[in-house]
Amino acid sequence: MGDAPILEARNLMKRFGAIAALDGLDFDLAAGESLAVFGPNGAGKTTLTRILTGSLRMTSGSLKIAGRDPRAHGIETQRIIGLISHQTFLYDDLTARQNLIFFARLYGLDDPPGKAVELLDSVRLLDRADDPARTFSRGMQQRLSLARCLIHDPRIVFLDEPFTGLDPYAAALLRATLERLRHEGRTLFLVTHNLAEGLELSDRWMILAAGKIRAQGESSGVDRTAFERSYFQHVGGPPAGGAHA
């Protein structure tokens, strides 16, 4: 991992009217590091992801990605980030190949058709390259979305609950891909409800609740049971009848 933070957030605030969705967040992300963000619904995780990826403006605070202010260097910043969400961002009526060629052209890549084939092969969808995306299962669509996200070789990959709705095979493939990305030295920002999975796929973790960072720490060596108890303490306790991550 590099020394200089690839992402620096200082006093990040986002208000929707009187509601503070994000209330003064301060955190860094080192290059090559993987950060898991946990929190209950409404904690501000998706709001944070949208601000970091440039689709939502923060109310105040400062943000630097790879040393640049995204507001002043939006296009350069967008070149190095990728996003996988529970939505696939695909066009149902285009084939898998056409979807990837479109995004390759959007990112100004050389040889978009060649790049599309390379990525379809990497996510094991080459045999379905010429089928419309709407004919794909949820797992296949997420694999195609992963290919879309990685087509421009982003340095930072944001993942907003990417395992939502995936079957075990697709989830395993995504997990393996994320491990490969970590091994390649990419920076990952993973938002997930699955505590065990998040800890496994991260170097550090952060718990967000009511727009504030409640706790953060290193993921290595964390006792899962103790972490789950600690998580519920930070977010306001488990629901009646107990809860499991």
Binding site: L83, Q87, Y91, F102, F103, G108
Partner: protein, 220 residues
């Protein structure tokens, strides 16, 4: 590339164009029944047909404008476009071009039909009429694309789009009807040059406003 993608999707599904054509046909048929040929000749083609044409084109175009952003909302593809390292004005230009191509294709289908329904010699006025229609369609598509983006972000669809579009586009419609009327009377294009120049000016103005505001429309 955004225009190419939109047109590729439309070519595959023909969903937008078919809806627009169907709507246009219904409007033309209704007007055809409302005004028989005797009435048309009494009123005059140049007085009646321009209004019919531009009501048909504008309401059909609304269907196309709304759909142009619905395809981005379905899988939240708009977020991927916002994430891409391209100026937002490129996204607007692509969307507007695709809308222009679709509406122009509709108009090329509807004009001959209107000539049949209202019994006028289209070939005699084809060149000037096409020039009038395309110039005004350009402005309509620029505004339509801009307000369709607003409606899509707010999530209100065609109702909001029509509410926003028609008041702002009213100078365009006035000019469109005036120019079309002049052309259908057999007058040369130069006789409506003032209106055409005003429309060209509005087209440029709408484009510049869209370039300046589209980024803020797409962002929350």
């Amino acid at each position: 590339m955004v225009a190419s993608k939109d047109l590729q999707i439309e070519w595959r599904t023909l969903e937008t164009l078919s809806s627009m054509v169907l709507f246009s046909l219904i409007v033309l048929v209704v007007f055809n029944f409302a005004f028989d040929l005797t009435t048309v000749r009494q009123i005059g083609v140049a007085r009646l047909v321009p209004g019919v044409l531009w009501v048909t084109f504008s309401f059909s175009a609304i269907v196309g404008f709304a759909r142009s952003f619905q395809i981005e909302r379905h899988r939240d593809s708009l977020s991927a476009l916002i994430l891409a390292p391209v100026d937002r004005s490129v996204l607007f230009t692509g969307k507007a071009l695709a809308n222009f191509a679709t509406v122009a294709a509709l108009e090329l289908l509807i004009l001959p039909l209107s000539a049949v329904f209202f019994d006028y010699d289209l070939l005699a006025v084809l060149g000037p009429l096409v020039a009038v229609v395309l110039l005004h369609t350009l402005g309509l598509c620029e505004l339509g694309t801009l307000f369709a983006a607003v409606a899509a972000r707010v999530g209100r669809g065609e109702a909001l789009l029509a509410t926003l579009l028609f008041p702002v586009a009213s100078p365009l419609f006035i000019s469109a009807v005036k120019c079309t009327s002049g052309v259908l009377e057999g007058k040369p294009l130069s006789s409506v040059s003032n209106w055409m120049l005003v429309t060209a000016g509005f087209d440029v103005l709408y484009f510049l406003v869209a370039m300046l505001t589209f980024e803020y429309i797409l962002e929350d």
